[in-house]
């Protein structure tokens, strides 16, 4: 017996309809996948930031809670005669000292020379200045740097023609608030990123001389 094969192919209309269905499904999924991709990027930023914050907070709080804080003094950090941050000296009950330095130097974010006056000069920022945000902590004379995680940056040509680059980071220390009023030491370091809200600040509060 000769087996008869089904030699019927698909008609053009069937292929067109199938193609149209596939296109509709792919288009409807595209936005969803793009959203997921954006969320994944933001999640990775958050993870880096939370890990950084937890590490720094734990190192400082461990010293304060285990040893007890007896005094805290705040000095202004200066660079070329300009205030650029804070230097906090924490004296612990065992007589040792810990230093916390927070440096906040904003770079010039101007892309071309027409923006320099508005974005940089009017705010007292040198046209060739890069961002510099650093936090250092440790025993006096043995400070450890805690570099902010690099969550994206821009490299801009400097305006002095030297060919060097200005670096503007996406993650910035936007505000530092430090106080020892009412015998309570508190520091709030607000970290800002264009894709994250300001809820990722580093916040440390401790009573002074309270056991």
């Amino acid at each position: 017996m000769v087996k008869r094969l089904n030699n019927k192919g698909m008609t053009a209309i069937e292929i067109l309809i199938t193609f149209a269905i596939v296109v509709v499904i792919v288009v409807s999924m595209y936005n969803g996948i793009a959203d997921l991709k954006a969320k994944e990027t933001v999640s990775s930023y958050k993870l880096s930031l939370v890990t950084y914050k937890n590490l720094l907070t734990k190192d400082i709080q461990d010293d304060i809670i285990k040893n007890g804080l007896t005094a805290a003094t705040i000095d202004t950090l200066e660079q070329s005669g300009k205030p650029v941050g804070y230097r906090v000296t924490l004296t612990l009950r065992d007589g040792t000292r810990r230093i916390l330095e927070v440096k906040q130097i904003f770079g010039c974010a101007a892309v071309d020379s027409s923006e320099v006056a508005d974005l940089c000069t009017s705010r007292g920022i040198d046209a060739n200045q890069s961002d510099e945000f650093t936090i250092s902590y440790g025993p006096e004379g043995e400070l450890t740097d805690y570099p902010l995680p690099d969550l994206g940056h821009e490299e801009l040509e400097s305006f002095d023609g030297s060919g060097t680059k200005r670096i503007i980071y996406s993650l910035q220390i936007s505000e530092v608030k430090v106080s020892v009023a009412d015998s309570i030491f508190s520091i709030d370091i607000v970290l800002s990123h264009p894709d994250l809200d300001a809820r990722h600040s580093i916040n440390i509060v401790s009573p002074i001389n309270y056991y």
Binding site: N54, R199, I204, V205
Partner: protein, 189 residues
């Protein structure tokens, strides 16, 4: 025997496609809220709240908080399953001032003390809307998220403090606020 050589007709294909899309839609609708829930939990027991709760715990465990006085916190917890902690309950003027200043600086909204085991308190929240409403939806959701702590504390703790913080986005007190939550066990011999 004649073999059935018919393929799927277009209507059959369309019906299956619609059916599969409906299944995907149901899955998406059910899983999407979980993403929001996950984001909300970022503010449960974060490192700042945990360390700040440590200081509230220190005040509660201190000698100027008369825990076992007649009609005091221990009795209230025994009857109501929780008690609201306030700095005004501290007897030492020095502790009272410290507590109030810390409370303000740490941006504490409310703090309550419950039994270490949360089973009874969770039942109260489920059955008594007045208590749940007084604590607020967000705080209640945090407590419901917490485990029951059915097994005894390894440290011998009998009580637990639950704290809600209302933090500002920046140093401007008019800036947007967000809430964080934390819990710690309490040792009261």
């Amino acid at each position: 025997m004649k073999k059935n050589n018919k393929g799927f007709v277009l209507v059959e294909t369309l019906v299956v496609t619609v059916f599969v899309m409906a299944i995907f839609s149901v899955i998406y609708i059910n899983f999407y809220p979980l993403a929001g829930e996950y984001e909300r939990r970022e503010f449960y027991d974060d490192v700042d709240s945990k360390y700040n709760t440590y200081w509230i715990k220190t005040f509660i465990q201190g000698s100027s908080y008369d825990f076992y006085k007649s009609g005091g916190p221990a009795d209230t917890i025994s009857s109501n399953k929780y008690v609201v902690f306030k700095c005004d309950d501290l007897t030492s003027p020095e502790d009272l001032t410290f507590c109030k200043n810390m409370w303000s600086r740490m941006e504490v909204k409310q703090a309550i003390i419950t039994d270490y085991n949360l089973t009874d308190f969770k039942n109260v929240l489920q059955n008594n809307n007045t208590v749940a409403n007084s604590l607020g939806n967000m705080f209640t959701a945090y407590i419901e998220y917490l485990p029951f702590y059915s097994y005894s504390s390894l440290n011998g703790a009998q009580y637990r403090v639950l704290v809600e913080f209302e933090r500002h986005m920046n140093s401007d007190r008019n800036s947007e606020v967000y809430n964080t939550y934390s819990t710690m066990e309490i040792l009261r011999p």
